[in-house]
Symmetry: C2
Subunit: 139 residues, 2 copies
Amino acid sequence: MPVAKVKYTDGMQFVGEAGSGHAIVMDGDAEVGGNNTGLRPMELLLIGVGGCSGMDVVSILKKKRENITGLEVLVNGKKADEHPKKYTDIDIEFVVKGKNLSEEAVKKAVQLSMDKYCSVKATIEGTAKVNFTYKIINE
Amino acid sequence: MPVAKVKYTDGMQFVGEAGSGHAIVMDGDAEVGGNNTGLRPMELLLIGVGGCSGMDVVSILKKKRENITGLEVLVNGKKADEHPKKYTDIDIEFVVKGKNLSEEAVKKAVQLSMDKYCSVKATIEGTAKVNFTYKIINE
């Protein structure tokens, strides 16, 4: 069962640790009494959906023996103006680098992640509309 | 506009960075071809909801001049068995430490975060049922 413990330190700084044994620092900006020593909690959702879908795409392309040499996942989030300022729209762009990458294979890998495998996307899309595109750079 | 860039390094390791300028390492366990060098993307949702709501509670209690000396937010997530294995239930426990803390003030702070302010909770609760409790430790 995934668990996390988030502990207050000072100002608006919190240290979060999770079942895998790793920890991160979160903080707010000066406007909310923070000192910007770490990530904003809302940024973790964008990084999480990028990491989750990125792992899917790499895993699927490797299984298909595609020669993937790099991947960047760019994520933009749009928040509601009113509290609780949840994400209403999230745009994800996959930039896949490789040698002789098949466009069909990349398209299919991205679609499988978005439609079937990405747990983070599946959790947030009850609220946020998630759009995605991909770009292939054959080196 | 909140943005994040997530970059593939090796194995299942990704480095995510966001608009605030901070970065984190994500990785999978050996079962998925990872080396457990960093947090799982799904753990970021739990840490994020703990940090987000923790900042609300600290902020509200400080505004009310309550003498809060510590806060731990414990988060448990339950995932669906089938892909995409999204969170179906998330339990949050706030353990608030302080001196002469008013139970009414703590209860109100937690409720305001959960019902009105916490952007991460508002984003994930379209999918996951979020339950919360609190405990007060007056030192």
